[in-house]
């Protein structure tokens, strides 16, 4: 059961709106710093689009590299939103409440960032309109729907639309609160966004139904988005290391692993930066860590399945690729780091209750997971292309150029900046969810006994 906390509604409002109604001291310098990094990144991206992909470290046959790795990484992170807010909502896990908005926000921001990569990665980004928007349909040339690259924008834009709606619907009651506590242009801004929210029973009913419906509708997207991303690789039948039937579930569960870990990172930061110790509590980290143990172990099983599938056929090129991926320099070092950071260090730590409840430990282990998960994607994409093909005259290694590293760093700064800007205008912890859970754990008088108002989950 949820630990009983006596937090008054006034206190909840005051503390959770401390980043919105007031400006924390660190906010402006942090945003300025991130903004500077983002600005430099945008200049580098513009230069690359202007000058050409020759600025990257890509070659023949390593045609995809850091950009696609980072694209898959951010799409993976975006799976946090659905996992936390839709699946946990439908399964009525109470502890999800303070985390839902942060997870959804992370989804929207990371998807938005992920979408940038396939665009700037193309040789002629200005022709992408032709690719995503089939303007040539009148001439009978429809985009090739057999290509996963057509299904990618379809799935991701659907997911982005759904997540944005989901975020917005959950924001409505809090927008009402903000509207009532602001004046001037801010008041006008929130009034416009709150869509006349008054908090009457009919509005609450519609808001709740809307949330549940969107949760259920987004579940299929949850599975399909990363499945489709995995098919970018799995349909390339001639590339050992890419052509695997396990890829769709493997990518989805890997995405949940990295996404939920990113939520843990974010929660720790929120607790430290806005001092929301009363709302983001060790028990939430504990619950997430237990979820992560299951997800990580499922993901580990998929990793072994992938290797098993690859080796089962005893196909010499496939075995050679795995040999290179796991045992040959420099892939072996990356593979060890990937395996150790992705599973070997974090999961045993999460198995200890004391560590699960330690926020600093949770923060660093969750960072480790995402280092490992980024490397996982890199280790799938690049060795597959740099493999020793039968034609030795095309063998080539890959070394990412500074431009690629810079654009990758830009993506992290950009996601952080988007979320910090959001936090200045909207509360990162849903006030109404917090109050609802408070009501649920309040005692009510039944006869002579005092019992919790509602029991929904056993801690």
């Amino acid at each position: 059961m949820q630990q009983k906390r006596n937090l008054t509604q006034e206190y909840t409002n005051k503390v959770l709106l401390n980043g919105t109604l007031e400006t924390p001291k660190w906010w402006a310098p942090t945003v300025a710093g991130l903004g500077f990094v983002v600005l430099i990144g945008v200049i580098i991206i513009a230069t690359m689009v202007n000058r050409g992909l020759g600025l990257t470290g890509l070659s023949r046959p390593v045609y995809w590299g850091l950009f696609i790795t980072t694209f898959v990484f951010w799409v993976g992170i975006s799976h946090a939103g659905i996992m936390i807010s839709a699946i946990l909502r439908l399964t009525q896990a109470e502890w999800r409440r303070p985390v839902t908005r942060a997870a959804e926000l992370l989804t929207v921001c990371s998807l938005f960032t992920a979408l940038v990569f396939p665009l700037i990665h193309a040789g002629r980004p200005w022709r992408i309109a032709y690719w995503i928007l089939p303007y040539d349909i009148s001439r009978g040339i429809y985009p090739n729907i057999r290509s996963p690259l057509i299904m990618d924008p379809v799935a991701i834009s659907t997911y982005l639309t759904g997540s944005t709606l989901f975020l917005y619907i959950a924001l409505l009651p809090d927008l009402g609160v903000l509207r009532d506590r602001t004046t001037g242009w801010k008041n006008a801004f929130y009034t416009l966004l709150a869509l006349g929210w008054k908090g009457n029973p009919r509005q609450w009913q519609m808001q709740t139904i809307g949330g549940i419906l969107l949760s259920a509708l987004m579940l299929p997207i949850f599975v399909s988005v990363h499945s489709i991303v995995s098919w970018d690789f799995a349909v390339a039948s001639a590339v050992e290391g890419w052509h695997s039937t396990i890829f769709a579930p493997y990518f989805v569960i890997g995405a949940v692993h990295s996404g939920v870990s990113a939520v843990v990172t974010m929660m720790a930061l929120m607790r430290w930066m806005w001092k929301w110790d009363d709302f983001i509590r060790p028990e939430h980290f504990d619950a997430l860590a237990r979820l992560l143990i299951v997800v990580a172990t499922g993901w580990l099983a998929c990793t072994f399945l992938e290797l098993t599938f690859a080796l089962y056929g005893q196909d010499a090129p496939e075995i050679a690729l795995r040999e290179m991926q796991i045992f040959q320099w420099p892939w072996n070092l990356l593979f060890i780091i990937f395996f150790v950071t992705g599973y070997l260090i974090p999961v045993p730590i999460w198995c200890v209750k004391k560590y699960r409840n330690n926020i600093a430990i949770m923060f660093w282990t969750s960072i480790l997971v995402n280092v490992g998960m980024w490397l996982e994607r890199f280790l799938i994409i690049v060795p597959g292309l740099a493999r020793r093909t039968p034609f030795v005259f095309t063998w080539e290694a890959y070394r990412p150029s500074p431009v690629e590293w810079a654009i990758m760093i830009w993506s992290f700064a950009w996601v952080s900046l988007l979320m910090l800007l959001f936090s200045r205008f909207f509360p990162l912890v849903p006030l109404f969810e917090q109050k609802e859970s408070q009501v649920f754990t309040d005692d009510i008088q039944i006869g002579r006994a005092k019992v919790p108002a509602i029991v929904r989950e056993v801690e």
Partner: protein
């Protein structure tokens, strides 16, 4: 009568490369560069593995010293019937035309490079930079061949400009194309006549007869790509019965 002709066209261009005749002289490579307006592969581009050469001659050593033999194999786009590059292109820049050619439509290409990743023969090339020619070569460019800009894929076209030019000429003269009338740049340049180009749908053509030769094989058969480029294996006089000359 046959709907196959309506469906697939009357021709199916194919190529035979006889490895027994290949001396590794690279004349085909040079001819291709000149015919198809392929940019100069500067040292920088070669070092960074971004050179473009629609046909390449790979050289392999066979046997231990002193019985070492050089083996050569020219590799160009195999114009696969089941080409892995075609289904992955989001914009149909890579597609199969009615004459059995795997065609690259430069105007459609957005440069995802997905086709190149899917190709097991690694014969697709990306223009990382704009093409450059020294001033002295500018007037030597072939007017029949599009110059590819930065950011798109290119590959061997089986000299489609020659196919079209010769077909038009035959049509205007009111006659059928003769076998061997169309020569790709590489087949015309091959000093030992090791490269034969022709119509695989015509049972009387040289390519049709050679493709059933006992030395015939295709590259990377395990992927089921069904290439239209067929190789004839090297004859090794020292090995009786075994004519597997390729690596």
């Amino acid at each position: 009568m046959t709907t196959d002709v309506e469906k697939f066209g009357t021709r199916n261009w194919g190529m035979i490369a006889d490895l027994d005749k290949c001396t590794g002289c690279q004349a085909c490579v040079l001819a291709c560069q000149a015919e198809n307006n392929i940019p100069i592969n500067t040292q920088d581009r070669v070092e960074r593995a971004r050179s473009i050469s629609w046909i390449r001659v790979e050289r392999y050593w066979e046997g231990d010293f002193p019985d070492t033999k050089a083996r050569f194999i020219p590799i160009m786009c195999q114009h696969c019937e089941n080409a892995p590059c075609e289904p992955v292109c989001p914009v149909y820049a890579s597609y199969h035309n009615s004459e059995g050619l795997n065609v690259q439509v430069y105007n459609r290409c957005v440069g995802t490079r997905y086709c190149a990743n899917a190709c097991p023969y690694i014969v697709r090339f990306f223009n990382y930079w704009d093409p450059v020619w020294p001033e002295s070569l500018r007037n030597h460019l072939n007017p029949d061949v599009t110059i590819r800009s930065r950011g798109i894929m290119e590959k061997c076209s089986f000299c489609i400009q020659r196919i079209n030019r010769t077909s038009r000429k035959a049509k205007s003269e009111g006659r059928e194309l003769e076998d061997g009338e169309i020569q790709t740049a590489c087949s015309a340049a091959c000093g030992t006549h090791g490269i034969v180009f022709g119509d695989l749908n015509d049972p009387e053509s040289r390519v049709s007869k050679l493709k059933n030769h006992k030395r015939a094989f295709t590259l990377l058969e395990q992927f089921g790509t069904d290439p239209n480029v067929i190789y004839l294996a090297k004859i090794d006089p020292n090995k009786k019965g075994s004519e597997e000359g390729h690596h």
